[in-house]
């Protein structure tokens, strides 16, 4: 029990803070971490200011914030997707290696850190070939090996049971939710350890959204997931951690249950409650 004096004391000493970032202790394994990550386009104002975020392994972290807050910019930078004239300063530490470095093999990074976009973007190929395409570009596999990878990826993405009898059908004939899960399976086939999802359910109906969310929760035992979402309830339902971005800064990063019940920064509280501006 907290003593009465302590409560009074803590209410008195309460000050409004402007920023809060949870400090992952050493017992939390870090899948990826940024140090002073700063991004600007065409030498204009920074799209992202000195961002220090560490992501716990085998957890789902949601990145929330208004359009233009820097969350998608941040997510893409982890996958090293950025256009020309983009300046990226600071470090992105992945297994202790700074991957924000010209000497790094971007394709290898993208294999290990998979990305799924807002609109499902399967190739105009069969379901089977969607999954094997990237693999066969880079190495030789036997038919058996490919069959195995296709099956296990589709199972992990919770799509196997629905498509196992029609793997040669065009991926474009699938429903939106199925296409999105196929794209997730495609990323999984490359055996990544981090999955980045950029609004993976915003183009889907409620039922497909639920399926994708369920898939995400099932995947976190094997992968670390970082997801950008505009849907506050989605962040609340699926993620362990939530980071709130505002005008290129991380305002608050904490356990999701804390962000949604007692955030430390007023701006976060306003955004999450929908009282913005």
């Amino acid at each position: 029990m907290v003593s009465r004096n302590k409560i009074v004391e803590s209410i008195k000493n309460e000050v409004e803070i402007e920023k809060y970032v949870i400090n992952l202790s050493s017992k939390h394994q870090r899948a990826i971490e940024t140090k002073d990550l700063t991004i600007s386009y065409n030498g204009k104002k920074n799209a992202l200011n000195k961002t220090n975020l560490a992501f716990e392994t085998n957890k789902i972290t949601s990145l929330i914030g208004a359009s233009g807050s820097g969350k998608s910019t941040f997510l893409r930078s982890l996958n090293l997707i950025h256009g020309e004239n983009t300046l990226i300063g600071g470090q992105i530490l992945y297994h202790g290696v700074n991957i924000n470095d010209p000497s790094i093999d971007k394709f290898e990074v993208r294999r290990r850190i998979g990305m799924v976009f807002q609109r499902p973007n399967p190739f105009a190929k069969s379901i089977y070939n969607n999954i094997t395409f990237a693999l066969t570009q880079r190495a030789k596999y036997t038919k058996n090996q490919l069959d195995e990878i296709v099956e296990s990826s589709l199972k992990q993405a919770a799509l196997w049971d629905q498509v196992k009898d029609e793997l040669n059908k065009s991926a474009l004939s699938l429903s939106g939710g199925q296409q999105q899960r196929l794209v997730i399976a495609r990323a999984l086939a490359l055996k990544p350890d981090i999955l980045l999802l950029d609004e993976p359910a915003s183009a889907l109906d409620p039922k497909s959204t639920m399926q994708v969310e369920e898939t995400m929760v099932n995947l976190k035992k094997d992968y670390t997931i970082i997801v950008v979402t505009h849907n506050m309830q989605q962040a609340a339902r699926v993620s362990d951690y939530t980071a709130f971005f505002h005008m290129g800064n991380v305002i608050e990063y904490d356990l999701t249950r804390k962000i949604f019940t007692r955030p430390k920064v007023k701006l976060t509280s306003d955004y999450v409650a929908g009282n913005f501006g």
Binding site: M1, M210, E213, E214, A236, R237, V238, R257, F260, T261
Partner: protein, 228 residues
């Protein structure tokens, strides 16, 4: 994402039932130890009251998180609200059990010349076991999600306030006749009052069970909540 929410809700439900059993056991022990003048048990109840309070706080915290994270609606909302409303009631039942335990301790340490009234102690004992029974019944109704059983439990609880009137009469009579019964008589009156409140609170929980099942807010035993 129903599945994760279902797990959370099932966990909350279990925590509530566990706490309910803990309170029911404590109430039973408090009444039995009062009758047996068992100061050790009473002391234990007094010392362990904070465990019940801690459970209440944990359940409340969980409810707030569930509402904030999952925004439950319809039957799920009613389930969460039923637990939120009932958990405070359970905690207060625990407080009354603790108060009875404190009376037990006081009675034992009293002046040797004070006189006990056996017939009243017997009546309180009966009232106590009827109340424990009503509390058990209401928890069973909660577990079975059975509003009809809940209403039956409330009816049983209502009968308890009738015996309190009888106890009051007997105690006042004894006090008038013999001043040496005043000290113990005062304790009989408050203990009967505490037991009566516990029975009323069982009724409150029964009302929330009806709400959970039907969505209707009802009053099952109107006018029965006088202290003594």
């Amino acid at each position: 994402m129903r599945r994760l929410f279902d797990e959370e809700l099932a966990d909350l439900d279990n925590q509530f039932i566990e706490m309910g059993k803990m309170v029911a056991r404590t109430v039973d022990k408090a009444v039995v130890s009062f009758m047996a003048h068992d100061v050790d048990t009473a002391q234990e109840i007094n010392n362990r009251d904070h465990e019940i309070n801690d459970r209440e706080a944990a359940i409340e915290k969980k409810v707030f998180e569930i509402i904030a994270l999952y925004q439950p609606v319809t039957i799920e909302l009613r389930e969460v609200i039923t637990i939120l409303k009932s958990v405070g009631t359970l905690e207060r039942m625990g407080d009354y059990a603790r108060n009875i335990a404190q009376s037990t301790i006081r009675v034992k340490n009293r002046n040797k010349n004070d006189i006990r009234i056996n017939s009243v102690e017997r009546q309180i004992s009966e009232m106590g076991s009827a109340t424990t029974h009503a509390v058990d019944k209401v928890l069973e109704a909660y577990v079975a999600d059975d509003a009809t059983e809940g209403i039956k439990a409330a009816e049983a609880a209502d009968k308890i306030s009738e015996s309190v009137i009888q106890i009051r009469k007997t105690v006042l009579e004894a006090m008038k006749n013999n001043a040496d019964t005043i000290d113990s008589g005062a304790d009989y009156l408050v203990v009967a009052g505490y037991i009566n409140r516990i029975a009323d609170q069982a009724t409150d929980i029964a009302e929330w069970i009806v709400y959970k099942r039907t969505g209707k807010i009802v009053e099952l035993n109107p006018g029965s909540s006088t202290f003594i």
